[in-house]
């Protein structure tokens, strides 16, 4: 096999004595995302001594290592080798799974729904319609606790973060900020606008992996009524297909 696409340009930055930041810097954000996630998979599979792991996000990858075993110089060479391999073998192909997420919107479940509607100059119903209109690619697992970070719904305007972040946002909170969307797997402080809540259990700290999705999988929200919420409680988020 040979490479089918032009290699994405990549820069490697020092990030202390135990990490490197790798940034894909092409104008094509999809290519950047694909490059850092493919590189993360390659690094995991190659399993170099002293490399703890890689955290890919949108256009960036943090590679963490043990400076007692290896060094920033060696890991940089290893990363560049991985990039050459990717150019040669191409990105690993994996069929994305889709997850279906029931959500109660507004009220006590989504205290910021009206604020978001007002900011977007749309009705609450239009906000819900836009949020449930498409399926979202999970771009990366973020803080806290493996949150599925997604490109946001097709709202007219970016959603501003709360001026005073909440000290505690419940598990299952469905939130938006800027041009991003997320579900909170665990109770944590948060400054994103919460527009709804899913009754499903996203995080299971007793099993590995802790969350059922991986970057590249898709997620679709559908609306349920408040009285249906209790019926879903205790069920785990599972792939529909």
């Amino acid at each position: 096999m040979s490479a089918t696409t032009t290699p994405t340009p990549v820069e490697v930055f020092e990030s202390g004595d135990a990490a490197l930041r790798v940034v894909a810097s092409s104008p094509d954000s999809e290519a950047n995302w694909s490059t850092v996630h493919s590189l993360a998979e390659w690094l995991e599979a190659a399993g170099a001594d002293g490399v703890h792991g890689a955290v890919p996000t949108y256009d960036s990858l943090l590679v963490e290592f043990d400076p007692g075993v290896t060094s920033a110089r060696q890991v940089r060479a290893f990363v560049l080798l991985g990039l050459r391999q990717l150019d040669f073998i191409g990105a690993p192909a994996r069929a994305p799974r889709e997850f279906s997420v029931p959500v109660v919107y507004g009220g006590e479940y989504g205290p910021d729904l009206e604020r978001v509607a007002e900011h977007e100059q749309l009705s609450v119903e239009e906000i819900i319609a836009l949020h449930t209109a498409k399926s979202y690619v999970i771009r990366c697992l973020g803080a806290p606790a493996g949150s599925p970070m997604m490109d946001g719904p097709d709202f007219p305007l970016p959603v501003p973060r709360l001026k005073d972040p909440r000290l505690s946002v419940p598990a299952g909170a469905v939130a938006v900020a800027g041009r991003q969307a997320v579900i909170a797997p665990a109770v944590a402080p948060g400054g994103w606008c919460v527009i709804g809540q899913t009754p499903l259990t996203v995080l299971d700290a007793t099993s590995e992996p802790l969350v059922p999705y991986v970057p590249g999988d898709r997620l679709r929200f559908h609306r349920i009524r408040p009285e249906e919420f209790a019926g879903y409680v205790g069920r785990k988020l599972d792939a529909a297909r």
């Binding site: 135990a18 993360a40 996000t57 963490e64 973020g142 803080a143 995080l203």
Partner: protein
Amino acid sequence: MSGSLIIQQPGNSVVTDLGRFRGPRFGLPVNGALDQFSARAANILAGNDDGAPLLEITALDFRMRATTDILIAVTGAPLHLTVGGHECQQWEPVSVRAGETVAVRQITGGLRAYLAVHGSVEAPVLLGSCAPDTVVGFGLRLAEGTELKTSRSVPPIRQPYFDLPLFRLGLTRPEFSSHSVVEVTDGPDVDEFGDTAGLLYTTEYTVSARSNHIGLRLGGDLPERQSSAEVLSRGVPVGAIEVPSREELLVLHRGRGVTAGYPVLAVVTSRSLDVLAQARPGHTITFRRTTVPDATAKYRAALRELENLRSTVSTVFALLGIGSQPGWRQLAPAAGS
């Protein structure tokens, strides 16, 4: 022979280890002992593997009782250690007889102490580590009456000659002071701070009381970001120094959220993260700029010192007949054995 440790006064204590190194790829912080050197040293002095579960005791007084004869070692911040009412030395193996109480009091100068038990203690494991994770609600936080299972008993070893130290192990103990110098390397986003980045090296910062295992907040003159462009969330290393507000500098430690959207001004070296782990609210800090190769060399020098300690401890323990093999081999039986 197995036994238990019964916690009588938990203070603020947990069972932890060196961290959940597989966590970040799943969105979980590494966590684990904040002062890694002291934690490794405690385990080595107790004849354990560096990464064995041990107790991290933060700031407050702590007491426990052993139900069998055990061997322990206490390291970290200066404190007052007694076993069965008798004063004992930190940074040395210490015998505890069945029924005796181990008391850790007056943690001063630093913030965190480490107590390792020969043969270690049992703790639940997530992704290969027992380190508590406050966000996912995992881990063993000690409470009054908590019973910790130990796997090995060690008959009492008492110095036959009065008042002479039993062990002379030649470890250079870390220094503890209310003013610390913390070494950092340039962060990947240092250019975003323009000329103001230099303030980091000319300012004396004060540790705020709002500091914890997630990060330390430091007050003082703040470098200022010169642009306001939105930053996409990305992985940030432990030790990252950010300026999220106009009030404080934020230095991320081992409990940090794995991803964030703030520019990274500088990154604290692995060695200096241990220094920060011991900084108390009100302590002052100045930063010194270094390079990655220099930081790596210092980190490796500390590891060599710990290796020397391990070889001394193995020799002494063999002479005293403690553990026919290092204790950790019993914790992880080889496949097929």
